[in-house]
Amino acid sequence: MAKQDQIISGKAFVLGKNIDTDQIIPAEHLVYSLDDPEERKFYGRYSLSGVPDAESGLPQGNIPLVEEDKFESEFNIIVGGPNFGCGSSREHAPASLDIAGVQAIIAPTFARIFYRNSVDGGFVVPYESLEDLSKEVHTGDELEIHPEERVVKNITQDKEYEIRPLGSVADIVNAGGIFEFARKEGMIPCQ
C-alpha cells in the first residue's frame, strides 16, 4: 500500500453510489485461496465484475475494470460515489482491488468495515473527498493524489478537488497495515 504522504498518479475508473462488496467481488468467486499465488490472481480478474455493465466505468459505462483475459487493470485509482464498499465484511473486496492493481479509492463516504479492511490489511488507501467526484471525473482521466496538500489533481480536465486528511488511521496506513503498526508500537514481537 502507498504511504500516506506518497503521491499516487494514474488513470481513474469511475463508479456510482452504494457500490457494495457483492459488486466488488461477487460471492461465487470467494472460494479462491488468497495465499496461493496462482489462485489469488482470480480476485484481480473478477474485481468489480458484479457491477451492472451500464454502471461500470462512468459516465460512458460498459467498461470493465479488468479486461476479459487479463488479471490486472490499466486503472489504478477508483473514484466512487457515497457509501463505497457497503455490504458484507469480506476482506476479499479491498484485496481484489489491490490484486487488480488499484492503489487508492476516492469517495465522499465509505462503509465502515470496507474502510477498516482497506487500512488494516494494507490494501488500498481510502481517501474521502469533500464532494462527490463521481459526477466530475471521467473514466480514463489522469489523476494525481497529493495527500500532503490534501488535493486530487485532474490532469486531463485541469481541475483540483479537495480530500480529507486520513486522521487517526494515518499511522496504520503509513506502517502498511495493522500488523506492521503493532510491531512498530511493540504490541507484538517483530518477525
Partner: protein, 437 residues
Amino acid sequence: MGMTLTEKILANHSGASSVEPGESVWVDVDVLMTHDVCGPPSIGIFQNQFGEDARVWDKEKLVIIPDHYIFTKDKYANRNVDILRAFAADQDLPYFYDVGSEDYKGVCHIALPEEGFTRPGEVLFGTDSHTCTAGAFGQFATGIGNTDAAFIMGTGQLWVKVPETMRFEFEGTSMPPYLMAKDIILKIIGDIGVDGATYRTMEFGGPGISAMSMEDRMTLTNMVIEAGGKNGVVEPDAKTEAYVRERTDKDFDPVYSDPDATYHSKYRYNLEDMVPMVAKPHSPDNKATALELEGTDLDRAYIGSCTGGKLSDFEAAAEIIAGNDLKIDTYIVPATTEIARGLETHTLNGKPLMQIFREAGCKIGQASCAACLGGPSDTFGRLNNQEVCISTTNRNYPGRMGSKESQVYLASPYTVAASAVTGKITDPRVFIQQTVI
C-alpha cells in the same frame, strides 16, 4: 457524564473508566467467530504473521461455524472447509461445528445465540458483517475482516473507534398481529438510508422493544449493517437473561445505558402506526409499503437466512401458507439444524410446520446460508437468470442472490408467504385477518 450501553462495554474492555465517541481504544475480545468463507484467509494471515506453529490466544474464545458454501460440489469451497477442519484439529478447538458431523449448525449468527455465545456485556467480533445480530442480547458485536480476525487470533485484542449512538425508541405495548420486526427495520432503513448509521451504534429501546421476543430483536439488530451501522443493541432484560441462561453456564455482566447518556440523535416510532414494508430492488433502503406494490409479478419466494430463517419466521409463514396452494416456487431454508428440527416438532393446528410446507409444494433446503448470497452455481435456491424474487433475507444489491440480471424484493415472512400464495406482491393483512379469530 453518563454512557450508553455500547460505550460502557468498550470502556470495561479497554481498562478505561469511561470512553467518548471518536476515541480509538484497544479492547479485549471475549469471542471471535469465523466461517468457511473468511476463516481460511484469516488463518492464512495468522500463520504468516505469527508463524506456522503459533497457537491462538485462547481456544475457548474462538468459534468456527461453517455455514456459507456447504452443500455444493465446488472443489474450492469444499477445500475451504477442509482448511477449517485441519486448523480446528491442530489447535484443538472445542467450538468447531463441522460439516457432516452431529455438531453441524448452519448460519453462524443464529448458531451463536443457540450455543450460548451471545452474552450480555461482552465483546464479540466476527468475520461477517451480520455479526451485529448478537447486539440483540446487549453484547457489543460487529463484523471485521480477515486481517483483523488474524490479529485477534494472535493477540486477543483489537482497536475500535468508539461510535456515537443513535437511539430508536418504540412505543406501543404489543406487535399488531400483521407486523413483524422485519417491517420495522425496513422502515427505519428506508427512513435513514443505507448509510444513515455509518460508523454509529443503533440502540433500540422503549416499551415496544420490551414486548418483542428475542428472535424479533435479532431481526432488528441483524440489519443495522444495512444502514451502515457499526453495531446494534437492545438493553438486556428478563427475556434476554432467560434465553442466555438456558444456553450457557458462563457468567456474564449485563450493562445498561445511563439515563443521562449522550446520543447522536433520537427517533420515535409507534408500533401501532407501522405497516408491512418492502425494500425494492436493488437497495435495502428502497422502501415501499407492501400495499403500494400490490400486484407486482414474482417468479419465486424465498424464506431463510439469519434475518428471516428463524423458527418464529417459519411459524409466521406457515400461518399463511397452511391450506393454500402456492402460485410460485417457494424455497424454505432453516437457518440452523436446531430450527430444522423445530420445523418437525412445532405444529400449527396439530400439523408439523414441515408438513404444512411440504403439502403446499415448497422446496426445502438444508440449514445453511444457501441462496441468501448467491454462492456457487449449484447453490440451493440461487437466482441464475432474470428471476424476480421476494425474500426474507437482508440484502438486495445487484447480484446478491446470484445473477446480476435478477431482482430481489425484501419483506417479512408474512409478506413473502402471502405473495407466494398469490404469485404477486401482497399485503399480508388480508390473510392475517382471515386467520385471526
